[in-house]
Each structure stands twice: as structure tokens, then as C-alpha cells.
Subunit: 826 residues, 2 copies
């Protein structure tokens, strides 16, 4: 097969330019042709020439393949050398017929498989076989209940022509028949299970393999990140991380009486995140405080106080034990268990986390509305009746409540002069008034105008704006680059727009306040937690028990997020690193325990958002060509920068204080909703509300009875509802353990559903791939070509491949005008 | 052609049920088949039976047409009698091939044209000719850059098969070739110009014809309105009308010092509207006060005051003259001039009015924000410092401003006792305080909390909600009926939802307040304007001059709206009534002038909204069948009810007072945006921002160079910009006259664009129709069948109809199994 197999362009040329004009130099207007840059470099042309002449009685046909491609001057539209010539001359009067033949040949030559055959053909028989193969692949649509004027959409991914080529090359021997259109089938087949998750059996075998796998990419992890898209991802994820740090910091401070506060949260996030993104196996994973850890800390603090333990020291020992357990899991390659997390478990978990995100963002807004109550009884006319005065305490003993004796002198002083008293009191601000034990009297005291409503405007506005801008990529307006830029920066733009709206209206909405001083939140603790001295010796050992729980909690949270990050849909190329990730989580756990910082583990929703903001697509060039998802920009730059910025936030408070909290809650809502995108479980939930005729053409709907699909969805929904209820009680601490229950439920489903159904419903081969595979399968079946209707023939009762109604190009056979190499006329 | 031409169902039956089972009674499971109800009543079946037998050496084929359709028991899936039988028996080993032949025959029999041929065929040649015709229509798609697994969408409207039938019946003689795929072409071809707009030449000829045309529909105009959709339309349009009445009433009251106020506006709207909808030619048109009339009234009132004329009397005479002129226009069939309003003029006008609607709704919101200013300096901590006190006037002389001496006694009384004074002043409400000349002192006085922000939430919320609910019809969720109901009641639902939100939050947003007392707004006028006595006699004659302006103004406003209502896209069936409409406008003009009520004329945007809310579509039944737009529910019920309700609003104020004004402004915004839908001008505006490859498949883009399309759009845009500027100045009064300028500009375009281009760009044949026509044209061209690619071949250089590569069903011809009537084997 020494022939060059370069793509060929076909071109119908109907101008009667005299052959004398032909030069081997491309002409000016040829070079100017914009179409040229869409062609591959070594493209060659076929020229199809038809015409009427008066000196012929019957048509004369020649198909010429030149030994060497030559430039034929202005004959071709673009300056590419011509390899093939098709010439048809015939008697006058049948020009349209000749033209149609020319079109047919041009169509034939534009077929990838046929033009390869044309390159390789040794004689006329080869060409005829090629035409036959082509005709076998032709689809015939009968007239009737459809509109022949429709334009067929260019497909998202082209069906490969490999099968056709193989058939031509190798014959029918590869024929496959059966019901196994997809690999795996059962549970474990979900995510990319390569050698990443094989049990090596050696000590630290998995970890060593992970390092070996990731090390070669370490430098590319940095220069791969140098792209404008990274900037958008950094800003977006940074804001998410900071908001998370503040929220969890506040909650932790609340739960632990400021033993861990907002500053510790910032410091911990920055240090742990940066180290993780710099050195872990999956730098796309974003680590953060998570709900279950918070619940654990709350319980731990209460327990410590009740039993008079030193909280931080107790926690240090739990952390150390837990880190030890995690390292033990790393050493024994325990992460191979991840294989049992199928799509069912994984989507259940990620959906639940997304729901919690959405729920929390609304909860935060309602809390805000509670904090700034609206005066719904306000009447404009009675503006004169609304006020809020600070009054002197009616009870003289109320001065007992003063905690700060220094400040209260002022009040005691004025207390003596009765006349000046009222004036002084009323000049106090609300805070001062309450501090000095004054009473706020008046109808306006309990209400705050505008802030709540403005917050809701910002909240919904940011969410809607982010959504719309993100979708802008698929809108038909503006050139692709502009659309892509807007879509990439959607969230940053939305935040900026609504910060602008907020500044414009000027209402004093709650803003993002980051700590600006670098010292522990509580004055009762230092930067280092001494490991001994606070608690009796047996506590150091007993800490192993709660540590076990923490270990399960971290392992589950970490690995299921890692599984989601490694989904096949994301097309990651640099390999997984489950063991390495867990190793770093354990190390950071120990470090954070020593420093009295919160514990960190992979956060599902933010990690998904991170990946979403780094998705790459092909630059579309040819009209109608669909952008193809290429993969995710796998690098460490965005992650590292996000956490460096988080650390520097302490110095950025003058800028950050312009960002209203409701805007950030809106971003959280967006993250929650966006992370539900493309989750098959959500698609199936939607199916529940859809009449059958509107259902999309999903692969599992083609193969699994709708009833079964709904049953599967229902089981999954039930599991999530139970988990949600669990999460709302104190039992929340065992929440990650309950994810294991999902694995058990999935296992139990094996007895309810057939393996065939499950392989379609619980499988992470993305839709497209599977459809493609099936197409190929079908193509094979139909190999022999037949009048094809669009009826489903997958459950075809006949297996023989006997063609029934063939559509031979009989006219061509009757008038064999297909000469080889040299032209031969009839 | 005595044969019944009933549709035939095809059915492949592959079960080997013994022929003994055949009974002529339908079986139980046949009757239960749900598919049955989708079939027409007189449907007949063709049964295709194929099978292998061991006693045959070559295939045996029979095509049987029975003289009488008979019930063949369980042979058919549904209990319909069988007319045709296709039987193919052959030797063992080629079952798949037989099956394919069976499929091909079934496909053939399902073709509308072929099964008609099968009914009529006299011999085998007829059938073969039918097959040939079918094959000519077949579309062949080569393999390559598309995905054969795609599912072809069912078309919005099926291409008609009439052309194919004619061809079969009449031969090729009707062949048409040329560049006139659309009727009309030039200017006047826009809307349905039937005899409605022909100049009769007789006195009142047009009016009489209008009455004759509309009278037969008068009763159906009432019972056609009895539909749930009408309820939604009534509520929607009622709220729009009431809001309009209040807005214009307020503005008129402002302009005429309450000589015409809100109550007059309500009364006038109710009376004129009800009469118009009851008796006019186009009951779908909604009449209302319009902008130009308002400007005229303002100028007229100022002129009257400056020259000491009696405003109402002067106005009465103008009204009478104007009514006279209008009647003269009716009598002389002047409405035929409407024909010169092409799509260019019509879309320009309606777009402009829609823009004004959108602009006005925002202006109203900004005005509201101005009226309820937000205190952007509010700090929660300083709540104690914000108040608003009513203080006694510092200047004793301020009591001079009291207009009502009776009320002021209270102040005078308390003025003497100095100690009680301040207490009394501070207990006054804002209104009282200002009334008695008190001063409002304090930081809170100039601000109103929450109302503005809540109003914006309601405004945008209502708009967004209406939009989303309206689009719900095309969402894939819920059954069609539910979706349709939600979509029909979209605006009403949105209004209810946001009234609920408003009630829930409880902020005192401005509500819809309708007058509740029935008396003229101004005490200086009665219900009847006496025609003589107020002004010198020559004023009665001079009034004819401004009346001329009013006449042009009304004529233009009325007729261009009527043209828009009569757009071909709306598929109105009961005919137009331009003359009759103008007659009633004139009569109502005179009546309103006598009663001192505002003048009314057709309002474009509300009329479009009215039509949109009454659109009918087919109930889709078969899966994949697209709903078809059937037309508009043409009736008088909705209009009459709307205006009766408007009249009764005076008594409905206890209910209406729950509707916040911002919600209604949101509805206005929706109306403005919705009325831009489907306007070709807007589509073309969007094209300006669209890269060529994303442009939709519009008919004019297929035929007119993009540069020309853009130029046309640009000219139109420029015209609108000029009109907008004009509208913003005092010259607004000549605004409707300027519409005439649009006609002139359109005329001038004849010299810039070719007639070919203009016929595509300025033509009101809706897209679909035209495409269909073109499809038919194309089909004719391709009549002889050829390998068809999806290349554009409209500018095809050959006209001959010589087929080039035919796809005969040669196998069928070689094995002629097509017997006629009785079965004949080979």
C-alpha cells in the first residue's frame, strides 16, 4: 500500500475554459480563496468535467488517475494539484443527464472510503467494487411524511469509517452479532479503571505507581496552565473558596467557641489547598472544609467540654491517629475499593451534595432576610410616626449588666444631670445604646429597610446572569471567540455586573469581610498545639476510636470526589492518583491538627465547578462543524493560584469588601445547579415528567423498558431522600459511611434488574461513545446494503446477510465508462 | 375515478398464524389497540406476507387487490378491513431477502401517492409506473460527513403531495420554470388584498360590502368565543386595558386640568370598546387611547386656554368635523390606500410602537423609583439617628397658604397653647403636616424604604415569569393539555403569582386604584358638552383645520393596526372590514366628543397581544406530529367582555387594589417584547450580529445576498431612529403622518434594490408558505428522479428534464411479481 492516502477535494467545473489556459502556476484569485486554509496541506483535487459536443453519437467517458498530481492552473477553484480527472462528453441534448452523472461522481470522490479505493485501484473491477461498497452505505429515504428540504445537522461526532475500510480490506470475517455493544456491563466498569486502581499487593505499591505516573507530567502541569481560561477559573474558584472559607470558618468558630475561627479557616484552606494542588495526584480536585467534618468538630467540642478534655489536644491526637490510618490505607492500596463506586453511587452522592449546595444558598438568603427584617406595615404617609430612639434604662439597676466597667463611666456621669441625659442617650448609635444598657424604643427599631430586597435582587440576578452568560456560547450571535470568552468568564462577569448594581443602588448590603489581622481568633490558643499535657494519657490511645470514624469520613469524601473528577466524560489524560491524593490528605491532616487548623478534604461541587471552568473544545472552523470536547486543561496553576490568593485575602480586604454576600450566594446557587448538569440521574428524573413522545433519544431508552428506567430512578431517588433525612439529624456524622450503603443498594439491584438493563443504566461510558459503537455495530449488520427505512431494526429476527433489493448503478454498468489509468472510451 | 381514495395502513405480519384462524370478526386485543383511534374511520389495510417454503424452487409473488375490503380476523394488528395483500413465498435460505422485499412493499404502500395508484391501477403497467414515480421521489443520501443514526424531525408542515399526484394524472405539461416562486412581488402584495380593499367606485360601496361580508358571521362570532382560552384572553387584555385607561387617564387629566380624567378614560374605553367590538369589522382589534391623541389634546388644551376658547366645545367641533371627514373617507372607499402599507411600513410601525411600549414600561418604573427614593446612606447602626418629625412652621405667616379655612381652625386653636403645640404637630401624619404648612424635618423624610426595590422585583419577576410560562408549551414536560393550559394562562398566572409575592412580603407597593365614584373628574363640567355658546361662531368652522390633522392621525393609526391584525400569518377566515371599522371609529369619535370623553382608535400592541392570546393549534395526537397553527379564535366575546369588565371596574376596586402597578408594568414590558416576535425586521436585526454560519435557514437568505439584506435592515432601522427622535419632540403630533413617509421611503427603495430582492424582503407571505412553494417547485424540477445530494441547485443552469442516473428497481423488473387483481405467479 505504497500509495499516499491523502484527502481529496472534489470540484465540479462547468466553465468551458479552453485548455490552452492551463498553467502549472496557481492564479491570483485561486490563492485568495479563503476556502484554502480549511484544506489539509497535502490535499489533491479530482476534476469532474462534463460537456456536450456535436461530433459524438454516444457518450464518451474517461476516469483518469495521474501518476503524479499536477497543477492544472485555473481549472480548480483552489490551488491544489489534480490527481483524478473524470471526463464525460456526449451528444447534444442530454446536458442535464451528464451533469447529474458528474454530480454523482463528485459525490463518490468526496467519500473518504471511495477515494482511498480510487488511489489504490489496480483495474476497473476495483473501482466497481468501490462503487458497490459506496452504494451499500447509501441511505434511501422514501417520500412521505417528512420534508425533503430540511437540512441535516452536522453530527457532534462523525461516525468513523474504519469499519467500512476494514470491510473493504479484510472481508466479512469480522462480523459480530450479539448483545454486547458496550464493554464492562457490570458494576465496576464505571470509571476508567486502569492500573491506577489495581491492587499491587506490594507495600505502597499504588502510591509508588501514582508518583511514577504523575511525575512526568509535573512540568507540563505548569505550562499547560498558561491560558486566558485559567484566569477565569482562578477568579471563579477563588471566590467560591473564599466564600466557603468564611462560611465554614464562621460556623466552626460558632461550634468551637472560636478555637477555630475564620482566620484559621483561611490559613488552613490556603496552606492545605496550595500543598495539595502542588503535589497531589489530582490537582483539579479542590479541597475545602465539608459538612460532615463540621458536624464532627461540633460534637467533639461539646464532648470535650462536658468531660473537661483539652479540645485542641484531643483533636490533635484524633488527627494523628486518623492520619496514621489513612497512611495505612495508602500503604495497602485500599483505594482499589473505589471500583465499587458505580455511576449509581457516584451520581447519587454528587446529586445530593449539589442539592445541599442549592438548599444552603437559599437557607443563607432566608437567614439574611431574617437578620434584616422588612417593615411590611410601613405607610409612606406615617413617616412621621416611625422612629427609633435610644432611651435611658428605666430600671436604675440595669447598669449591672455592664461587662466593661471602664466604658460605663460615661453613662454614670451623665446619669446625674437629668436634663442632659435624654439628649445624650438619643445621640448614641444603636450599638452604643445597647452596650450601655439603653433601650431602643420605636416602631423603626426592629426593621431594616431595603437590604433584604436588594440582597434577593443580587442573589437571583447573579444566578440568572451567570446562567445566561454561560449559555451564551451556544447562542448564534457574535463570532466564536467572543462567545467563548464571554462564556468562560460568565461567572466573573456576573459577579462584576452585580457588584456594580449593588454599588449603583448604594444600599448597605452585607459585604464579604475577610479577616485583616494575622493572629489566632481565640486569645486562648497559640499557633501550635502541644501534643502532651492537656489530657490524661489514656485519652491519647482512646482517640483512635473517633479517629476511625474520621478516617472513613475522609476516605469516602476524598475518593468519591476523585472518582467524579476522573469520570470518563472529562477525558483526563494525565492519569489518576487516588493513593497519592489520600497520602497528602493524611499528611495535611496531621499538619493541620498540630496547628489547630480545620481539616480539609476534597469538595465535590467546587471540584466539578473547577473542571467545568477548564473545559477545552476545538476551535470550530468550517461552517457547520460542531465543536468537539477535547478534555480538561489539566494543570496545577489554577489550583495553586486560587489558594495563594486565598492566603493573600487577608491583605485584599479593601477590594473584597465591595463584593456583597448575596452575590456570592448566587454563585453558590449557580455552582449547585451547574454541577447537576449532565448527570444521568437528573436526566432520568426529568423523564418522569415527560410524555414518551417528547423523550430525547437516549441510548438507555432505546434498550431498557421505560418502566425499568423509572423504577431505577425511583430507587435512586428514595436513597437520596433517606440520605437527606439522615443528613438533617445528628446522625449526619455517619453520612459518608452511608454512601457505602448506596453501594450495597446498588448490589441489591442486581437481583431486581437484568444485567442487560443495568449495563445501560449504571455505566459511565458517555452517551456519545456508546451510540457510536452501536452505529458501528448496526453498520456492520447492514453491511450488504438494503433499502433502508428509519425503522428500528435492532431486534431483527434474521441474521443472514443476504441482500434483498440492491440498488446497483446499473446504468454505469451498462455504459461502463470507468476506465483505469488511461482513458478508454466505449 | 370512482374508487374510494381512503388512506391505507400497512402492516408487516410475520407470524405464521394458520389461515384457518381467520374470522371476519375483530378480536378482543385488536379492539383494545390504542393505535386504532389515530386512524381515519374508513381506513383499509394492506397485508404483506412473506415466508419460506420448501416446495418452491423460485420465488412466488402475488399482489392482490380485493374488490371489497374484508375483515381478516387477527391478521391485522388493528381491526380494519383488508384491501390489499402482498404475498411472497420462496425457497428456504433467503428469508432476510424476502423480508426486505416485504419492507419495501410496505413502505411503498404507506406512500400516499402510491396507494392511490394501487387503488386505481388497471394493469401491471400502472403499478410499475407508480413504483417508478415513487422511486423518482426517493432521496438518496450518500455516506460521509453525517450520522445515519440521527432521527429526522417531523416537519412543522408536510410538503403537499398534490404536485406528485398531478404529475401522475396530468403529465408534465404543468412544468413551470422561472424566478417567480411567489405571488405579487411588488409592494401591494403584502397582506390579504381581496375584494376588501378594492375601490368599488360606488358611494359607501366598501362599507356595504364589509357589512355583507361580516353579517353572516355575526352569530358565530359569539358561539366561537365559548372556549377556556377566551377566559385567559379576557383577563389578560382586561388588565392591559385597565392599566392603559389609568395611565392615559392620568396623563390626560394632567394635560387638560382634569377636564378629561381617569373616570372619563374608564367610561370612554368601556363604551367605545364595547360598541366597537360588538359591531365593527375586526372585533379582534382593541381600541384605546394612543400617544399621538394625547399629544394633540395637550396642545389643544394649551391653545384653548391661551386664546380663551371653551376647550370642551372647541374639541367637540373638532371631533364632529373629524368624524365627518372619516365618514367621507368611508363613503369614498379611501381605505383602499391601505394596500400601499407593505411589510416594510407595517413592521416599521409595529416595531416602533413595541419599542415605545418597552421604553415606557421602563420609564414608568424609573419614575416610580424617583417617587419612592431609596436611602442609600442608611446604616443599620445609626437607626437611632433616622427620623422624620413634623415641625411647626417657623414662619407665622405660613398660615396664609391654607386653602381650606375650615380645617385650619384646629391649628389655630393649638397655636395658642405653646406646650401642647409640638406634641400635636408631631402627631400629624405626613399629609396633614404638609397640609397645615408644617415642615418635615429629619433624615428619613425624603426616603421611602423597600417599595422601589420590591417594585423592581415584581416588575422583572412578572416579565420573566410570563415569558417562561408562555414558552412552557414547547417544553417537553407534562402532557400537551396541561402545557397548553399553562401557556394560555401564562400572563394571568404570572400576575397572580406576583400579586401573591407582593402580598407575602407585604410592602406597601403602589397598587392599581380605579375610580370608585361615578361623576366627572372635574366639577367644572357635566356629562354632556353643549355644542353652542362657548366660542365665537367662526371657531365652529375653523375647527375643521385641526380636525384634518386628527383625521389623518386616526386613519393612519386605525388602518395600519388593521393591516397588522389582518396579516396573512394570522390566517383570519372571517374577512376584513376596514371600511366598517373606520365607520365606527368616526361614530364613536362624535359620541365621545359630545360626552367629553377621550377619543379612541385601534391600539397596535394590545391588539397583537389579543390575537396572540387567541391562537389555535391542532391538538397533536400521533407521536412526533407537530402542532399546526390553525388560526385565531375570531369572535366578539373576548373584546366585549373586556370592555364590560372595564366599565365594571368602578365596582371592582376592592379586588383590583391588590394588584401592584409594577406587576402591570411587567405585563406591559411582556406585551412590548412579545409583539416583536415573528417580526421579520427583528429577525434581520439579529442577523446583523450573527456570523454567517449560524444564520437560520430563512427563505430570503437563500435568495438575496446578505449585503442587500443588511442594507435593507439598515434603511429600516434608520427610518425608525428618525421617527423615534421625531416622537420625542413636540412634532410628535405629526407622527402618524410620518408613517406615510415610510411608504415613500419604501417606494424609493425600488430604485436601490432589484424587484427580485424586494419581493423576498418586503412581502408578507409567511416564511413557511413560501418555502413550501419552493419545495414544490424544486420537486417539479427534480421530477425525473436523480441521485440527490443536499447541494443547493436552485441556480441550476440546465432546464431539460433528462434523467441521469436512474435507480430502477431492476430486481423487481427481473422478477415481475406484481400481478394485478388476481394473483399470477411467475
Amino acid at each position: 500500500m505504497g500509495w499516499p492516502s491523502s484527502p481529496t477535494t472534489t470540484h465540479r467545473n462547468l466553465t468551458s475554459s479552453s485548455l490552452n489556459d492551463i498553467s502549472d502556476k496557481p492564479e491570483k484569485d485561486q490563492l485568495k480563496n479563503k476556502f484554502m486554509k480549511k484544506l489539509p496541506r497535502d490535499a489533491e483535487a479530482s476534476n469532474v468535467l462534463v460537456g456536450e459536443v456535436d461530433f459524438l453519437d454516444s457518450p464518451f467517458v474517461a476516469f483518469v488517475r495521474l501518476q503524479q498530481a499536477v497543477m492544472l492552473g485555473a481549472l480548480t477553484e483552489v490551488p491544489v494539484p489534480t490527481r483524478f480527472l473524470f471526463i464525460l462528453l456526449g451528444p447534444k441534448g442530454k446536458a442535464k443527464s451528464y451533469h447529474e452523472i458528474g454530480r454523482a461522481i463528485a459525490t463518490l470522490m468526496s467519500d473518504e472510503v471511495f477515494h482511498e479505493i480510487a488511489y489504490k485501484a489496480k483495474d476497473r473491477q476495483d473501482l466497481l467494487a468501490g462503487i458497490d461498497e459506496f452504494l451499500d452505505e447509501v441511505i434511501v429515504l422514501p417520500p412521505g411524511e417528512w420534508d425533503p428540504a430540511i437540512r441535516i445537522e452536522p453530527p457532534k461526532s462523525l461516525p468513523s469509517s474504519d469499519k467500512r475500510k476494514n470491510m473493504y480490506a479484510g472481508g466479512d470475517s469480522t462480523q459480530m452479532n450479539g448483545d454486547t455493544p458496550h464493554s464492562g456491563g457490570h458494576g465496576g466498569g464505571g470509571h476508567a479503571v486502569g492500573d491506577e486502581l489495581k491492587k499491587t499487593g506490594k507495600f505502597c505499591g499504588g502510591l509508588i505507581l501514582d508518583i511514577k505516573r504523575k511525575a512526568p507530567f509535573f512540568f507540563s502541569d505548569f505550562y499547560d496552565g498558561l491560558h486566558i481560561q485559567s484566569l477565569s477559573a482562578i477568579l471563579f474558584i477563588y471566590l467560591g473558596t473564599v466564600t466557603n472559607a468564611i462560611t465554614f470558618g464562621g460556623l466552626l468558630g460558632d461550634a468551637t467557641e472560636n478555637m477555630q475561627g475564620v482566620l484559621e479557616s483561611f490559613l488552613g484552606t490556603a496552606v492545605s489547598g496550595a500543598v495539595f494542588c502542588l503535589l497531589a495526584g489530582q490537582p483539579l480536585t479542590i479541597i475545602s472544609s465539608t459538612g460532615p467534618v463540621l458536624v464532627f468538630e461540633r460534637l467533639l467540642f461539646n464532648f470535650s467540654r462536658e468531660h473537661d478534655f483539652d479540645y485542641l489536644e484531643f483533636r490533635l491526637w484524633i488527627g494523628l491517629w486518623s492520619a496514621f490510618f489513612c497512611l495505612a490505607l495508602v500503604a495497602t492500596d485500599a483505594s482499589f475499593l473505589v471500583q465499587y463506586f458505580t455511576r449509581f453511587t457516584e451520581e447519587g452522592f454528587s446529586s445530593l451534595i449539589s442539592f445541599i449546595f442549592i438548599y444552603d444558598s437559599f437557607k443563607k438568603m432566608l437567614k439574611l432576610a431574617h437578620y434584616y427584617p422588612i417593615n411590611s406595615d410601613y405607610k409612606i404617609n406615617y413617616v412621621t410616626q416611625y422612629d427609633c430612639m435610644c432611651m435611658a434604662p428605666t430600671d436604675a439597676n440595669s447598669s449591672d449588666v455592664y461587662t466593661d466597667p471602664l466604658d460605663s463611666t460615661f453613662i454614670w456621669t451623665v446619669n446625674y444631670s437629668d436634663t442632659r441625659l435624654n439628649a445624650s442617650w438619643s445621640s448614641l448609635s444603636k450599638k452604643e445604646c445597647l452596650k450601655y444598657g439603653g433601650e431602643l424604643v420605636g416602631t423603626a427599631c426592629n426593621f431594616v429597610p431595603d437590604i433584604t430586597l436588594m440582597s434577593f435582587i443580587l442573589f437571583f440576578g447573579t444566578y440568572t446572569c451567570s446562567m445566561c452568560l454561560k449559555k451564551f456560547k451556544t447562542s448564534p450571535f457574535f463570532p466564536t471567540t467572543v462567545r467563548k470568552l464571554i462564556s468562560d468568564f460568565a461567572i466573573v462577569l456576573a459577579i462584576l455586573i452585580f457588584c456594580g448594581v449593588d454599588a449603583l443602588v448604594g444600599v448597605d448590603t452585607p459585604k464579604l469581610i475577610v479577616p485583616s489581622e494575622f493572629k489566632p481568633t481565640s486569645p486562648n490558643r497559640g499557633w501550635f498545639v502541644p501534643p502532651f499535657g492537656g489530657n490524661p494519657w489514656w485519652v491519647y490511645l482512646a482517640a483512635a476510636l473517633p479517629a476511625l470514624l474520621v478516617t472513613i469520613l475522609l476516605f469516602m469524601d476524598q475518593q468519591i470526589t476523585a472518582v467524579i473528577v476522573n469520570r470518563k466524560e472529562h477525558k483526563l489524560k494525565k492519569g489518576a492518583g487516588y493513593h497519592l491524593d489520600l497520602f497528602w490528605v493524611a499528611v495535611l491532616l496531621a499538619v493541620c491538627s498540630f496547628l489547630g487548623l480545620p481539616w480539609y478534604v476534597a469538595a465535590t461541587v467546587i471540584s466539578i465547578a473547577h473542571i467545568d471552568s477548564l473545559k477545552m473544545e476545538t476551535e470550530t472552523s468550517a461552517p457547520g462543524e460542531q465543536p468537539k470536547f477535547l478534555g480538561v486543561r489539566e494543570q496545577r496553576v489554577t489550583g495553586v493560584f486560587v489558594f495563594i490568593l486565598t492566603g493573600l485575602s487577608v491583605f485584599m480586604s479593601p477590594i473584597l469588601k465591595f463584593i456583597p454576600m448575596p452575590v456570592l450566594y448566587g454563585v453558590f446557587l449557580y455552582m449547585g445547579v451547574a454541577s447537576l448538569n449532565g448527570v444521568q440521574f437528573m436526566d432520568r428524573l426529568k423523564l418522569l415528567l415527560m410524555p414518551a413522545k417528547h423523550q430525547p433519544d437516549l441510548i438507555y431508552l432505546r434498550h431498557v423498558p421505560l418502566r425499568k428506567v423509572h423504577l431505577f430512578t425511583f430507587v435512586q431517588l428514595l436513597c437520596l431522600a433517606l440520605l437527606w433525612i439522615l443528613k438533617s439529624t445528628v446522625a449526619a456524622i455517619v453520612f459518608p459511611v452511608m454512601i457505602l450503603a448506596l453501594v450495597a443498594v446498588r448490589k441489591a439491584l442486581d437481583y431486581v434488574f437484568s444485567q442487560h438493563d443495568l449495563s445501560f443504566l449504571d455505566d459511565v461510558i458517555p452517551e456519545k461513545d456508546k451510540k457510536k459503537k452501536e452505529d458501528e455495530k448496526k453498520k456492520k449488520k447492514k453491511k450488504q446494503g438494503s433499502i433502508d427505512s428509519d425503522m428500528e431494526d435492532s431486534d431483527y429476527p434474521y441474521n443472514e446477510n443476504v441482500p434483498s433489493i440492491k440498488i446497483p448503478m446499473d446504468m454505469m454498468e451498462q455504459e461502463p465508462f470507468l476506465g483505469d489509468k488511461a482513458s478508454d472510451s466505449e
